[in-house]
């Protein structure tokens, strides 16, 4: 088996008294799209910036393509591409000029025309950066990260602030990169983005990894089905042997045995002559799983 592209063990980082990372373990293998999913402030950016070499860590072990990113080795930087959440670029150069300038930094750059095609900026190649729209600047960010034809690509919240159609086209672009054989580490706080793009994901909350695996395996770890209906008068839940909660006037029951539970409920309701209004049976959403996993002590109390 080949060595992992990224390997982190017991990664810790504090800013003053604040412990941003409380021991992160991560393994990213060649050719996969790995997603770090978590709410704002969970430690996503700190983790990814340590892996990129932009931040030092306090304790633990990190290997990225076999190097410790803290050492700023040029041979590592030649093999990675970084899309930061926000990073400026000389505004009075053209798209083509900046990409060309960056290509020269790398030993084996990707051809200019190919880069422009991948990110869809062919039409804008002669435009000054300052004339680009926000979405076009994000495409340029990706273009610059691809300039050196990297083996590993870091994408830190690549679609935050995008409108739905821009997000969709960004997703297609990222899916296209996977087909080029790149290993991609991406951070996001959007569930649908993680579900759509990632081969594997880790959910990070409060500086710790709280779950890791494929989207499907995360689903399996949790109750699979939610039965819900409008809160009804009467006592049909008396002696009910599952966990039920009430949310916005709806009774929600999560279960692994939907058939049995549904039968129990409906026969009680029918027996009592109560109608279960808006009765719904649905698979648990990734969002539910995510919210459950990332609930901090504060909100779960």
């Amino acid at each position: 088996m080949t060595a992992p592209i990224i390997e982190a063990r017991g990664l810790r980082k504090s800013y003053g008294d604040f412990e941003a990372l409380k021991g992160i373990d991560l393994t990213v293998r060649a050719g996969e799209v790995f997603c770090l999913l978590g709410p704002n402030g969970a430690g996503k950016t700190t983790t990814v910036e340590i892996l990129e070499g932009h931040r030092d860590y306090d304790a633990g072990e990190v290997r990225v393509l076999g190097h410790d990113p803290q050492h700023h080795e040029r041979s590592l930087k030649a093999r990675i591409g970084i899309v930061l959440q926000s990073a400026g670029v000389e505004r009075f150069l053209t798209v083509e000029e900046v990409i060309e300038l960056f290509r020269r930094y790398y030993p084996h750059p990707r051809p200019l025309d190919e880069i422009l095609r991948i990110v869809g900026l062919e039409e804008k190649r002669e435009s000054l950066i300052r004339r680009l729209s926000g979405g076009q600047v994000r495409r340029l960010d990706l273009a610059l990260a691809l300039a050196g034809d990297p083996d590993l690509l870091f994408l830190d919240e690549p679609t935050s602030g995008f409108d739905p159609s821009a997000r969709r086209s960004a997703w297609e672009m990222i899916a296209g990169l996977r087909n080029l054989g790149k290993t991609i580490l991406l951070t996001t706080h959007y569930m649908d983005e993680a579900e759509r793009l990632s081969d594997r994901l880790a959910v990070i909350a409060d500086g710790r990894i709280v779950a890791e695996g494929t989207v499907a395996s995360l689903r399996e770890q949790q109750a699979a089905t939610v039965i819900s209906f409008r809160e009804a008068p009467g006592d049909i839940l008396d002696g009910f042997d599952g966990t039920a909660r009430v949310e916005d006037g709806r009774v929600m029951i999560e279960t692994d045995e939907p058939t049995r539970v549904l039968h129990q409920l409906t026969s009680r309701a029918a027996g009592a002559g109560v109608e279960l209004d808006e009765l719904r049976v649905a698979p648990v959403s990734l969002e539910d799983i995510y919210l459950k996993l990332t609930a901090t002590d504060e909100t779960s109390e």
Binding site: G53, F102, Y105
Partner: protein
């Protein structure tokens, strides 16, 4: 890939970027000329004592505006542009690539130095045409050395000070507050004939006056030697060296948290 070629390419792109922003280019070049015209209009015909004889103040203002040009183009502009580039994440992006850090800074410093040299040439031409102040061929080597030492030292100090600016918004205030008062006690805007002792000492401590005096020596019409002011140049160079050490030690590629 040859790193030096990469560094030279940085100069070329910085230069291209500069000239595409005509407002910045225009006012960078206009500022010392405005000062030259105003100062000469106010005081230029006054006769003052220079080392070796008496001459019009124009002989003082042309070289002092040369010094101002160097300080403005190297020091002030580097403090501001590096602070802005750091705040915008331009430096952080570069830091994530294999481009050596020195090559990037080389690009910025050499670019500003080239601008400073052009500015110096324009000031000299302006002085010769409108005020009849000529640079004697005899002192040309000394003058070139003074400009070179000044540009190098004030670039190093600019990069060093950029490490102390907390953010881009603070950069103009920091740059101006550090340089303007010193300019006034340093024989640049006004000739200090009999200054209070503490002001004279202040002027002697900082490098501005020494750069200005080294330039003035080259323009002095009574100059009989080659015009090298070794002590002044050594003081300017020492400041530059200190700046370079600070710049290397404190430079940050990342916006302040």
């Amino acid at each position: 890939m040859n790193d030096f070629v990469l560094a030279l390419r940085q100069v070329r792109y910085q230069n291209r970027s500069f000239w595409r922003n005509p407002t910045v280019a225009f006012f960078t070049f206009l500022l010392p000329l405005i000062f030259l015209v105003i100062l000469n209009a106010l005081l230029g015909n006054n006769i003052r004592q220079l080392p070796g004889g008496q001459a019009e103040l124009a002989y003082f203002y042309v070289p002092s505006m040369v010094a101002l040009s160097i300080i403005n183009a190297c020091y002030t502009s580097l403090v501001m542009t590096i602070s802005i580039a750091r705040d915008d994440g331009v430096l952080k992006r570069v830091r994530g690539t294999p481009l050596p850090g020195w090559a990037y800074l080389f690009g910025r410093i050499v670019h500003t130095t080239l601008i400073a040299l052009l500015l110096v040439a324009i000031v000299i031409a302006f002085g010769a045409i409108f005020y009849g102040v000529d640079l004697p061929a005899r002192t040309l080597p000394a003058f070139v050395l003074s400009v070179a030492v000044g540009a190098a030292a004030f670039s190093a100090l600019g990069v060093a000070l950029a490490s102390f600016t907390p953010n881009a918004e603070a950069a103009p205030a920091v740059a101006n507050a550090t340089v303007l008062p010193i300019l006034f006690v340093s024989d640049v805007f006004i000739r200090l004939d009999d200054p209070p002792r503490w002001l004279a000492v202040l002027g002697d401590i900082f490098p501005v006056k020494h750069l200005s005096e080294a330039c003035q020596a080259a323009f002095n019409p009574f100059q009989t030697g080659s015009g090298f002011e070794w002590l002044d140049l050594a003081i300017v160079a020492a400041w530059g060296l200190a700046g370079a050490v600070l710049a290397v030690r404190l430079f940050s590629w990342y916006p302040r948290d």
